[in-house]
């Protein structure tokens, strides 16, 4: 069968720096095709060229049998290429119907929008994906998953031949992911191709047919997903060999001794609101305690309560034996706690500020000298961390937004390490980060703990929790419900512990 899309020899430079050095991508009709690679491998550049956002320097693109020279996302949309971005470009305050039919509203008398028809059409499109919701309600009143599905529905309603999904599951919980997968299968069945970009390799094996691997601006491989393994994919992205990685374990978190007697933090029956009703845990020096649970189980809220972001309505906390009740982050920081938040873009980086300014943001009070910032000290400190954590940046005054996700995350980690914390709370520290940086970040966390500090780790990646955590506190609907202790935790055991409480609740 002739491919729907064939890109070959694509080259692109930015101010003389090559981003793509000869990338290719081929997608068949009705195929779910995965595109993977570390951050900076050129995935997004390739997609932006495909959708007309960037102009290629060299190379050929054929779409639906014809040479393609798209120059804007709108042209791409008209040609049948729809993109579902990580940040949804929908209007949350308007109704579901309005969002779906936007730009192609059915009309009566040529001027008035025919709302009954619009609602009917929207319901029909959504029902194809097994979604039955009130289409007249504002889109923002539904979960992210539903909003994402509406975005897909909108794309399909415009007769898309190719739907590009960029990290579609990063903000979904497991049941929502299932719904999304159902939609992807439905698209496939109706002959629509899907280009699926994701850092979650497990997902690819569930829904993709083929996978294209990119590294350093080049396409380094394209195989049937059935003929490959997760290890092979990681090896391909890193440019290393699979056996080597297998011998080292999949994460860099494992290790550490098991004699913990010095309690650093003690949390007793803490509640802050409806989403955190009864949370208890103890944290020892030299220990990683994982918080396990599904999305919405109260993991993040537990972290927020310890960091002084949500105030306690009941319960108590003790830090090194002393009563501890922070009323704002500054209190927690003074008590030597750091909190690496989940949402790097919204709660982490200050995009226009430099690497240097971002890195020292939590440390500013300690840099005061004669009423101003001690720039000498600041620069020395930043240089030290850039070297120690291997942060890839042109210079310390480069705006942080120009760095790759993994390097941004390292800067944020450095922001907290620089404050010399005793306790680090890490909420999804390796989400949206490429495989190489992920392992480096994990190694940094391990070193930090081995130096006698303590970590509270929230992660949706079970292997991180299972290999890294000394104990896992399992959470469900705002409560800490059980605790698993390493050695002896397996992914199965963790899944069982989570599932058990799911069942018990229903």
């Amino acid at each position: 069968m002739a491919p729907l899309l064939a890109m070959s020899g694509i080259k692109k430079h930015f101010a003389g720096v090559p981003a793509l050095r000869g990338a290719s991508l081929e997608i068949s009709p009705g195929e779910v095709h995965a595109l993977i690679g570390q951050n900076g491998a050129g995935k997004s550049t390739l997609i932006k060229i495909l959708t007309g956002l960037y102009r290629r320097d060299d190379g050929d693109i054929e779409f639906a049998g014809e040479p393609s020279h798209l120059t804007s996302p709108r042209e791409a949309q008209n040609a049948g290429i729809a993109t579902i971005y990580q940040e949804l470009n929908l209007v949350p305050l308007r109704s579901v119907s309005e969002n779906v039919v936007m730009g192609q509203e059915p009309r009566t008398l040529g001027v008035l929008i025919n709302w009954p028809e619009a609602h009917r059409r929207t319901r029909e499109i959504l029902s194809r994906f097994g979604i039955d919701i009130d289409v007249t309600a504002p889109l923002g009143s539904y979960s992210t998953a539903i909003q994402q599905l509406v975005a897909i529905a909108r794309a399909v309603s415009m007769d898309a031949k190719l739907v590009i999904m960029d990290e579609p599951t990063s903000s979904l919980d497991s049941s929502e992911v299932e719904i999304l997968f159902g939609v992807v299968r439905e698209l496939k069945a109706s002959g629509v191709s899907v280009l699926y970009v994701s850092h979650f390799l497990d997902e690819l094996f569930q829904i993709c047919d083929r996978v294209t691997i990119m590294r350093d601006g080049l396409t380094v491989g394209c195989t049937n997903i059935a003929d490959t393994t997760k290890l092979d994919l990681i090896a391909g992205m890193l440019g290393r060999n699979a056996e080597e990685i297998a011998a080292e374990g999949q994460t860099e978190l494992a290790g550490g001794n098991s004699a913990f007697d010095e309690v650093v933090l003690d949390v007793d029956n803490v509640a802050t609101g409806p989403r955190l009703t009864d949370f208890s845990m103890t944290l020892h020096r030299g220990e990683i305690v994982g918080l396990g649970g599904l999305l919405g189980s109260g993991r993040t809220e537990a972290a927020r309560s310890i960091f002084g972001l949500d105030h306690l309505s009941s319960g108590s906390m003790h830090l090194e034996g002393k009563s501890f009740n922070p009323s704002e982050p500054a209190d927690a920081i003074r008590a030597r706690i750091g909190f690496l938040t989940e949402d790097r873009k919204e709660e982490g980086i200050i995009p226009d500020m430099s690497v240097r300014e971002n890195l020292t943001l939590a440390l500013l009070p300690a840099l005061r000298k004669n009423g101003q910032i001690d720039l000498e000290k600041e620069k020395a400190l930043v240089a030290e961390f850039i070297k120690k954590l291997g942060i890839k940046t042109a210079h310390m005054d480069q705006p942080i937004r120009e760095l790759s996700g993994g390097n941004q995350q390292k800067v944020l980690l450095a922001r907290w390490l620089a404050t010399k914390p005793d306790i680090l709370i890490l909420d999804e520290p390796t989400r949206g980060v490429d495989v190489g940086a992920k392992r480096e970040i994990q190694a940094i966390i391990r070193r930090f703990v081995d130096d006698g500090h303590a970590v509270i780790l929230i992660s949706s990646e079970f292997e991180e929790l299972v290999e890294g955590a000394n104990r896992i506190v399992v959470m469900h609907e705002g409560r800490a419900v059980s605790e698993l202790t390493n050695p002896g935790i397996t992914e199965n055991a963790l899944v069982k512990a989570l599932a058990h409480h799911e069942e018990a609740a229903t």
């Binding site: 320097d57 500054a330 920081i333 919204e346 982490g348 226009d352 500020m353 300014e357 943001l361 500013l364």
Partner: protein
Amino acid sequence: MTSLITDEPMRTDFTRRLKQNGGLIALGIIILFNIIVTPNFLQAQTLAVNISQVATIAIVAMGMTLVIATGGIDLSVGAVMALSGALAPLIFQSEFGTAYPALGLVAALLFPLAAAFLCGLFNGTIVAVLKVQPIIATLILFISGRGIAQVLTNGNLQTFSNPEFSYLGTGKILGFPFQGWLALVIACLLFWLVNRTIFGRYLLAVGGNERAAKLSGGPVRKVKIGAYVLCSVLSGLAGLIVVAINSASDAARNGNLMELDAIAAAVVGGALLQGGKAPIFGAILGAVIIQLVKYTLLANGVEDEVALIAKAAIILAAVYIQQARKE
């Protein structure tokens, strides 16, 4: 460079430079235009007049820049000018002020600034603590501030003769107006504040990403209130200068439409309305451009109303350049 990439980078480099130095280029064009068209433009007298006029816009624009850096806006600057300008003559012409002229003069400087300080505290608290949209929060004083000033003066024009106080607006150092020097000193202080102090760093962080700043322990409320207070105090100072220039205080006219000039100057100077940037000397550049455009039109006999349209065009151009710069 290889032949593949010679063309594009050079062009983008040129357009980028054009966008980043748009203000300076515009200034150059206006000056060139005036040299050719406006009679007697290259006279010391013209320079002095323009400096004495631009100082007030610049001083308020610098304060506005701080507020805009937090992602806010302050509509009350003109009203605060009127209020502080109304208070000063009331104080030095009072019985106390005439009995003890020296003390009266000090009080006539300090009390209006203290009143401006309170206005800033009020704005900042409503924005930072009650979380009201800045444009609405500062609308309160925008409306009531001038009203209070007019009530205080019974709506009368207060004229006075007080050479010591008038020095603020008519004094000269090395041949240049005192308020020009004052604006320059303030600019240096604010530049230092923004770029070298912890407050400045937090100010830009709050505007750049408020949640991230808070999560990093930044005192978001204090920083925001600080910005509004500084903006108000600087506006109060500008109000005093205007009164000093005129030797008269007219609560109905002092600082009228200043909020627009100040916002325009800040934006022309490179402040981003979404926050995170505080180009202090940019604000001065913006103020100079606005003042020169006004002067050019006035000196060539163009109507005031037309001048307003010209001002609008400048803002439009500045916003356009900002948008282009983001890409």
